[in-house]
Symmetry: C2
Subunit: 208 residues, 2 copies
DNA sequence: AAAAGTATTGAACAGTCGTTCAATCTCCAT
DNA sequence: ATGGAGATTGAACGACTGTTCAATACTTTT
């Protein structure tokens, strides 16, 4: 590695070009559209080079999965200069941001979820990232509302994730943006719900 | 068709056996696991018979997609002997019922969603079924709360669907069942929210 | 300049894929 | 029983798949 100097300006290193091509194909045509030859063509390299940087096809897909997962987890680690409650609010709102609600990203997420259902190997990576996301969200809630016990923070995070996943999915199905906005508002309501008093009646918020 | 008489008791007609096999493979191994040969093997028939009943592989998948869609739409057309509000309540609750939260069904749904993203043909079937589901849900709401204008019913249905889709998805990711129950309660809250007065301030329920 | 190391190429291999089709089997009306 | 129509089989075809590998190009070190 080191051809970054002059070469041709925008040309980034081939390994990540290959990964980008794979993710692009996956998001557009699903796993059936990701053949080593298609990836090579899309990346503008020879067929052999794909297997040079990524031993297997599954290694390539694993790399794509990991990159999306890192992106997801970064969502719950926002700008640390903000006040705790503003950090939480920003994290909740940016899941409907323009860069997240891209068809490319959502489609990619969907295909990776489907892959995780079909392959035990991907499933573990996916589950680990999901847990990290849940934990990050619960931490944000805990920081914003310090008097809330940790268990309750986890529950609120779980409830929020249900709605967020629903938003991502229905955004792909073409539901109107107004419903997305209302769902965002609902996640904020859950996050900032008043702390239940300790008199011992209803243990969790949101129950009927 | 007509071998149903004696044959060997449980042996149903081969065409639906083939379709069942395809759906089973799709739910377990994703689209990559659905080859005509695998379908034939799983159904216990010869390879040629699959192409005899279903011209294409896409025709076969289309049939599977349609069957799942019909099942989905039937969810919002529950027992007509119940009172309107009870019909709505039952529809909302059975999406967390034992037969719906099956891994097989949810996984199948996920893979079909992913397929719809990759193929324009499947996407249209999927979108049409989604609209029918949304319409059915809005009708249930409208029957239960007659004084609510139709537009508001549609909005509530959209909000509910977001949460339901989120539940289905996160159920696959292994979130705890308590969160699912809380989400069910939330859909009921949305459905049965008090009708906003017409004094003209906030046009929709649930807004901040 | 020679050597060594890495990056890159495309042909080749062994499978699997979806689809077609002639041949068989099963059944029912004649 | 004879014929015909539909159901069922599995071999065959060509296209495509993931992977390997010897050969080449490019960089860096000696």
């Amino acid at each position: 590695m080191g051809t970054s100097a002059v070469n041709s300006g925008e040309q980034m290193d081939r390994q990540t070009r290959i990964l980008d091509a794979a993710m692009d194909l996956l998001s557009r045509h699903g796993i059936s559209g990701v053949s080593m030859r298609a990836v090579a063509r899309e990346a503008g390299v020879a067929l052999g080079l794909v297997n040079y940087y990524y031993d297997d096809k599954t290694t390539l897909i694993r790399a794509a999965l990991r990159r999306v997962d890192e992106h997801d987890v970064a969502l719950v680690a926002p700008d640390p200069s903000l006040a705790p409650d503003e950090r939480l609010r920003q994290a909740l709102r940016q899941v409907a941001g323009a860069d997240l609600l891209t068809t490319r990203y959502l489609s990619l997420r969907l295909h990776l979820w489907a892959l995780a259902r079909a392959d035990e190997d991907y499933a573990q990576i996916n589950a680990a990232a999901f847990d990290r996301y849940l934990d990050g969200l619960a931490t944000l809630v805990s920081n914003a509302i310090p008097e809330l016990p940790w268990k309750a923070c986890r529950d609120r995070a779980a409830d929020i994730v249900v709605i967020q996943n629903g938003m991502w999915l229905t955004a792909l199905l073409g539901v109107d943006r107004a419903a997305t906005q209302r769902s965002i508002a609902r996640t904020e309501e859950i996050a900032f719900a008043p702390v239940p008093d300790d008199t011992g009646t209803s243990p969790e918020p949101g129950l009927a």
